[in-house]
Amino acid sequence: MVDQLTPVLTKRWLSPRSWTLKTYEQLEGYTALRKALKAHPDQLIQQCKDSGLRGRGGAGFPTGMKWGFIPQGDGKPHYLVINADEGEPGTCKDIPLMMADPHSLIEGIIITSYAIRANFAAIYVRGEVLHCIRRLNAAVQEAYAAGYLGKDILGSGFDLDVVVHAGAGAYICGEETALLDSLEGKRGQPRLKPPFPATAGLYASPTVVNNVETIASVPYIVNGGADWFRTMGRERSPGPKIYSLSGHVERPGQYEAPMGTTLRQLLDMAGGMKDGIPLKFWTPGGSSTPLFTAEHLDVPLDFEGAAEAGSMLGTTALQIFNETVSVPWAVMKWTEFYKHESCGKCTPCREGTYWLVQILQRMVRGEGTAGDIDTLLDVCDNILGRSFCALGDGAVSPITSGIKYFKDEFLALCDQNSKVLAGATA
């Protein structure tokens, strides 16, 4: 029986000056790199496949398979790009990881770059987290000075340069192809796929784009092996996961537990609901994942469990709201966010989010009409699956799931007004 919490990625966070190379090396840091550089790159890709590691940025794509898509012997430069543009509402795991333990990410970057034969890697961090950027920069400098980066790393003949790249405030750049455009110095707008980044990514060369938590997991898999990684979590979603609890909970924070842990278990560890006010709704993985309610407390939070219950695991950003919060208001606020962050490239998302905000704001003002719910769902239907990228799909999640579980609250906003109209015409 595995313990309820399994600190792997978060373990060093308690150590003094955990962000320094000195602390990192005292706590097994860079031992996985030494081991990995003695292996064949294809063995590392195979090990990652065997471990069952799936992307921690939301989509859950098998990491080893992604690495395996990079064509080898193609004569082109290969690139590794770290998606550190953490901005999905509710998500707050990568920033603390990079602040507390930046070397674990850097070690993962070096091993991954060696595996996919990349000699240049970029960490694309959202710009608003200066302290995190500062720590990453210092860690990269330390790694160069210690011979972990640069030419002929640890005498292996392998070269790697890493750059820390600060974004400039655009949620859409968390979408991997928008991120690549942004990293190329352009507006962050998603690209048409195919071609996928594995064949034409950064500078039109084969590129792996992975999330911070994914790549920070790699050194542990190298040291512990694929079977060890699979001792945690579930068959199709193995490993530990950082669950971020926020909102109306007694002790919010970062809890690293095996994949498949439930909100009931997490809430129990976090002291339950704040002031004992009952749970009303929550997101399993950020605002783009359809809402859950108190009915879903026992859903195993892994990729399959969340999907089977009608949502998505996303980034395991558990935003927890109690009975005092109005669902239409919360949905309106999220929709304002998506409208602001829509990049404007495709019509369904650009126009759709604009009109969704207009309708929701009017409803929340108490001026809803009887047709509003149908109009909202109709607009959502024209965005879902019809947008250029997943931002549009994410934008409709809170609305459709909010109406699904809390239709009465939306109806109340409409009814109120229809009564006024009825009275006015009497």
Binding site: V2, P7, T10, M99, V129, Y203, M232, P252
Partner: protein
């Protein structure tokens, strides 16, 4: 394509040799020069406190781009400001979760306090003369990735966690009075322009900033609880081996 149609900008008195050197250092970080554009826009903001027409011309010249190409990028991203910013930029998260916990009330309180003539200060507006001591630009921000610490706000992109309208008001009054309260997580405050210089990737002389606090009690709650209860991840085997080299198909 020739660039002769561009209006000429004489920005030499704004962006001196040190800025040119820094722009070149940014370009040298990347395999292709254009990747330097985002950091370079942070760099011009560190000089002028916003992206001016001169700033756009400077980036265009450094990267051999047209002014339109640079403008298109500068106007896309929230962090590039089109009007001069105050000494400090105060960003209040008003996304759903922070808002429900008090973020909307914090923003309303600060708007009211920083407003003038009975009018609350608007989004991205500045109280005081931009750049002068005590001047403050206020904005509402989208999710700042610190939800376990909400409601949060930032000053020059350093975190002030677990805020209330009262605490936020006290903080802003202190900033106006020329004080620099220490962030909950982050380095000692400087000003908006110096923060932008660091975002462009220049940290010289600021090594001590690294020691600014980062892990709040919330950050390490799970790790601390596990340590307290004796919970750990399963032990790693001593001799985990790599799988055999896959055969080439």
């Amino acid at each position: 394509m020739t660039q002769t149609q561009e209006p000429t900008h004489d920005y030499a008195d704004v962006f001196g040799q040190d800025t040119v050197d820094r722009a070149r250092a940014i370009i040298a970080r990347y395999p292709y020069a254009r990747s330097a554009l985002l950091p370079m826009l942070h760099l011009v903001q560190s000089v002028e406190g916003y992206v001016s027409q001169n700033g756009i011309a400077f980036c265009a010249d450094q990267l051999d781009l047209s002014h339109a190409e640079v403008s298109a990028v500068a106007t896309f991203y929230t962090m590039y400001k089109r009007r001069p910013c105050g000494e400090h930029l105060v960003s209040v998260c008003t996304n759903t979760l922070c808002a429900a916990l008090g973020g909307d009330a914090i923003y309303a309180k600060l708007r009211e306090h920083l407003g003038a003539d009975g009018k609350p200060l608007g989004h991205e507006q500045t109280s005081g003369e931009p750049g002068e001591p005590g001047s403050i630009t206020l904005e509402h921000a989208e999710c700042l990735a610190a939800c376990d610490l909400g409601p949060v706000l930032q000053v020059n992109y350093e975190f002030f966690d677990n805020q209330t309208p009262e605490k936020a008001l006290e903080l802003v009054k202190a900033l106006q009075a020329g004080e620099k309260p220490h962030p909950t997580r982050g380095a000692p405050l400087t000003d908006f322009r110096q923060a932008e210089l660091q975002l462009a990737g220049f940290f010289e002389g600021r090594e001590a900033d690294l020691d600014g606090p980062s892990a709040a009690p919330e950050t390490v709650r799970g790790a601390a609880l596990a340590a307290d209860r004796g919970w750990t991840a399963p032990a790693m085997p001593d001799d985990a081996e790599f799988p055999p080299l896959p055969e080439k198909k």
